[in-house]
Symmetry: C2
Subunit: 256 residues, 2 copies
Amino acid sequence: MAVSLNERSSAELKVRKQRAPNSPPRGAPDRHAGQATRNSEIVYRDLRDAIVDVTLTPGTPLVEKEITERYGISRTPVREAILRLAEEQLVDVIPKSGTFVARIPVAVLHEAIVARKALEEACVREATAKASKSQIMELRAIIQREYELCASGDEQAFHDADNAFHAGVAAASGYPGIWSMIEKIRLQVERYRRLTLPQTGRMALIVAEHASVLDAIERGDAEAAVAAMNNHLNKLQIDIGTFRDLWPDYFLFDKK
Amino acid sequence: MAVSLNERSSAELKVRKQRAPNSPPRGAPDRHAGQATRNSEIVYRDLRDAIVDVTLTPGTPLVEKEITERYGISRTPVREAILRLAEEQLVDVIPKSGTFVARIPVAVLHEAIVARKALEEACVREATAKASKSQIMELRAIIQREYELCASGDEQAFHDADNAFHAGVAAASGYPGIWSMIEKIRLQVERYRRLTLPQTGRMALIVAEHASVLDAIERGDAEAAVAAMNNHLNKLQIDIGTFRDLWPDYFLFDKK
DNA sequence: TATGCATAACTAGTATACAAGATATTTTAC
DNA sequence: GTAAAATATCTTGTATACTAGTTATGCATA
């Protein structure tokens, strides 16, 4: 390829010292998509997971130096991880003072559920029109896995399968990217869910609800599919009142 | 050593070297919300705006050192800004190689429009039910401003007012946070819009469409409001075919 | 001239040192 | 004894030096 002159204009060829403008490397443009082994990525993932499953409770101070020592790395990648979390409003960083696990903003919580319902409704409606046979079979397989995990009682795996179902519906709708939007939204809601719901005995109900969504999709009944999905997601509805007294420090009530 | 005993429990007092756990500073918990003057924030904003209004075209290399010299600051804040852009998929950073303004992903573009419509539909429906008189008056004022800006032909200001209208609808719905979600989604679509539409003569149409949305909201006709909003947003629909040939390097066609 | 390889120049990733502000502690004044 | 001021010790923000990998360049070789 060194030999093969590509068809570019001579104007672009004139720039020799620098990389030719407007030409990202042709060879590996988004290999970067593969999981990065960057330290900041590891720290980010660990911290995010710990915050989401409430291992790190709201208000807990996050000291860069401490994390630095735990991982045996320098402050730079730790700092990058914390900045990402700050953007997702999972931590509050107060300049020159400290960084803390953010309290759960109840206003955002409510809006997140509304937004999720709106997005999933669009997905399920489109999936009803466009889902291929193979996609439906995949969804059926996920439901079967949920059924099995429900029997074995593996909550974590069940939860993963639950998400896989929703992601699968988004994929079947031709809007896989919308699921990644939902996942971002889901972070805050998930913190609440983990904090409040023991979730015992609800697994069987979820499986049934997923099945009724898929049934409607399969028979092409868009309105029924939407209704079933909305009914399913309505179970997320939060009742914050109870917890206002229990853990007042975990929540942020006043909208900023 | 501690002369002034505060009223804290002895359990908490045992931790002396560290700040007491689970206690973010009471005084200024979210003063951080005020606009930060951090250098990284300034660089981020400048770069983001330049990318969104296509001053920086897709594929343009972003050299940290160069930005460093332009602003007279060190690499650290520049790097933080670039990392934020990478998360929003506005730049691609290829380790040890280079950072480039991301090409516009057409698949994401399409999904972004679908998502926006879904979210705005939820907002406008709820706004019809909940909008206060004052909120409706504010929206009416925004439309009037649009009318005036349309006459004076100030595209940038009109565009801002356009956004203000949609934000106002979200506020009236009681879901102001959903507008910030939409704004994130809007970034990619905006790049496309700036690139393709001269947008001349469309301003008057937009004003009329906004007015018809607000009229429906005011008379409490949710379905009409939703229909008007969808009609309005449908104008965003993209026709990528034309531009595939014009600027093939600006777009990313294959879904990763 | 064409091809492969060594080398130089560049990039982003990381480590570390220092600066600036906030908080906690101690000292001092009354 | 109380309160206010001085000080020490935290924190995050920034600058800079260094590391490691990538890309371009030029030279040797056929």
